[in-house]
């Protein structure tokens, strides 16, 4: 039996089949969202409007999967009366699918902005920095899904710690955009879009971190302590520092 499921089978075997089916849906959703992150970042870097359009269209499937997972969870809760581990699996699945849906939305948003950005002149290094950041978030998501399948709380904790790196990447990008905008006001519109994209990727990282915490809860029956390094205050300080420079 795959390690994805408890080592003991239910007496009512249809219960196992239900749980397996729901979990398979989450993995499918996870795969689609991972691809959406990568594709939207690549579409941005290469200004590939067609690929961006594909990401936007694909988000429909992700949304539908979320609805389907919610329905299956509700049905299983109503019919099987899950407790303990089984209940944690369903609560986890329910929350993972909610987070995945939102990560998918951010990817879609990134794709939308790509269509606008094609008409603007590119900023040196910005797209590849954003792609690296998106790549990092996608890896975090992949590891979170692996941690979920393997019931691996350590790997999930590792993901949680890596959110700090994404925050730092965001801070660096933010500072760079400020500079571009001060250098030349014609950069402002493009930078605003790119900044929204950076912020969205940073938010994806937060959502994936929540997912990792949910996996830790699934495995240990406890939410992890709040001992995660946070790096999202820097931009506010930087913004002030930059104001000073401007005066």
């Amino acid at each position: 039996m795959s390690p994805m499921y408890s080592d003991q089978e239910h007496i009512v075997s249809a219960y196992d089949r239900d749980l397996e089916a729901i979990q398979a849906l989450v993995m499918r959703m996870g795969g689609l969202v991972e691809a959406a992150i990568l594709d939207s970042a690549r579409a941005l870097e290469t200004r590939d409007v067609e690929l961006a359009e594909k990401v936007r269209a694909g988000d429909r499937t992700v949304d539908e999967l979320e609805v389907q997972i919610n329905e299956e969870c509700a049905r299983t809760i109503a019919i099987r009366g899950p407790v303990s581990q089984d209940l944690r699996v369903l609560l986890t699945v329910f929350r993972l699918s909610g987070s995945l849906e939102r990560v998918g939305d951010y990817a879609k948003n990134m794709a939308k902005r790509t269509s606008v950005l094609v008409e603007m002149r590119p900023l040196p290094g910005a797209d590849s920095a954003l792609r690296r950041m998106a790549r990092e978030v996608q890896l975090m998501l992949k590891d979170t899904l692996d941690a979920y399948v393997r019931r691996d709380a350590e790997l999930a904790e590792d993901v949680r710690q890596r959110d700090h790196d994404v925050d730092q990447m965001y801070n660096a990008i933010f500072r760079e955009f400020l500079t571009f905008m001060m250098e030349d006001p014609r950069n402002i519109t493009g930078c605003m879009h790119l900044h929204f994209i950076a912020k969205n990727i940073e938010r994806m990282g937060d959502l994936v971190t929540n997912m990792a915490e949910q996996v830790i809860y699934l495995v240990t029956a406890k939410m992890p302590d709040d001992s995660r390094p946070k790096g999202d205050e820097t931009p506010y300080m930087r913004a002030e520092a930059s104001d000073d420079k401007g005066e």
Binding site: S6, Q8, V83, S84
Partner: protein, 265 residues
């Protein structure tokens, strides 16, 4: 979070009503209850769960010495009610059973009127000086059992003419009529439909304000709904005893986990 839970728990800490230590029960050669230690709190519903034959009923019957009536049964260890050994030679089992009442799986009203069913115990124990006092006890008991409104106009009708759920509430009224301190219930709802079950469950929760209630149930959902403490028995052992919420969300023992989640243990 955990701190807060601990505080709540300590505020919630109830007096110990029954304290069992090292309890063994044998039926001839069969060792049916092995080394059971448990503390039953006052004003609390404690549920006993576990697969058939694990010893729930046997242990329940120890608590009011019902096992005395089974020839081959032998009970060892100590069981204290309010600190006093109920197996002490000086304890009269009949008196004990008035203090520790019991409600059985199948409603078993006597083939008498509703009134006489409830008045039976108080009469034996000479609890009423006159008819007026007895009337009062009967009314109070029927009210406690949430049966008064349905029964008050037909007190002389036979108890056996009531519906299943009403009969079970009549048995509860009969059990509470002797002013017990503990109520033992062995699968009290297994012969009832969902509505009657709901009414009895509601009643069990109300009874908790006056009594310590111990209920044996085969329904996980029922244990989760009505009890504050749950004991899981397996093959004569008490495997785990904890707050009901804990047992159903995160039990310590894998045997408990398997049982409550319907897995092959």
């Amino acid at each position: 979070m955990d701190d807060q839970r601990l505080t709540e728990r300590s505020v919630d800490q109830k007096e110990i009503k029954i304290s069992a230590k090292n309890v063994q029960v044998y039926y001839g050669e069969t060792h049916a209850i092995k080394d059971v230690d448990v503390e039953i709190e006052d004003n609390t519903v404690t549920a006993f769960i576990g697969p058939s034959g694990c010893g729930k009923s046997t242990f329940l019957r120890c608590l009011n010495r019902m096992n005395d009536t089974i020839d081959i049964a032998r009970v060892e260890g100590t069981i204290l009610l309010d600190g006093e050994d109920i197996y002490d030679k000086r304890v009269d089992p009949v008196q004990l059973r008035a203090k520790v009442g019991m409600v059985f799986q199948k409603p078993n009203p006597f083939p008498k009127s509703i009134y006489d069913n409830v008045a039976y115990g108080p009469r034996i124990h000479g609890m009423a000086k006159n008819r007026a006092e007895l009337d009062e006890i009967v009314e109070k008991s029927l009210r406690r059992a949430a049966l008064w409104d349905e029964a008050k106009d037909r007190l002389q009708a036979p108890g056996t003419g009531l519906s299943g759920g009403q009969q079970q509430r009549l048995c509860i009224a009969r059990a509470v009529a002797t002013e017990p301190e503990v109520l033992l219930m062995d699968e009290p709802c297994s012969a009832l439909d969902p509505i009657a079950t709901g009414q009895v469950e509601e009643l069990i929760d109300e009874l908790r304000t006056n009594y310590s209630v111990v209920i044996v149930t085969h329904s996980m959902q029922q244990a989760a709904r009505v009890s504050q403490k749950t004991a899981f028995f397996h093959l004569g052992n008490l495997v785990e005893f904890d707050e009901t919420g804990k047992i159903f969300t995160n039990p310590e023992d894998s045997r408990t986990e398997s049982y409550i989640s319907g897995r092959i243990g």
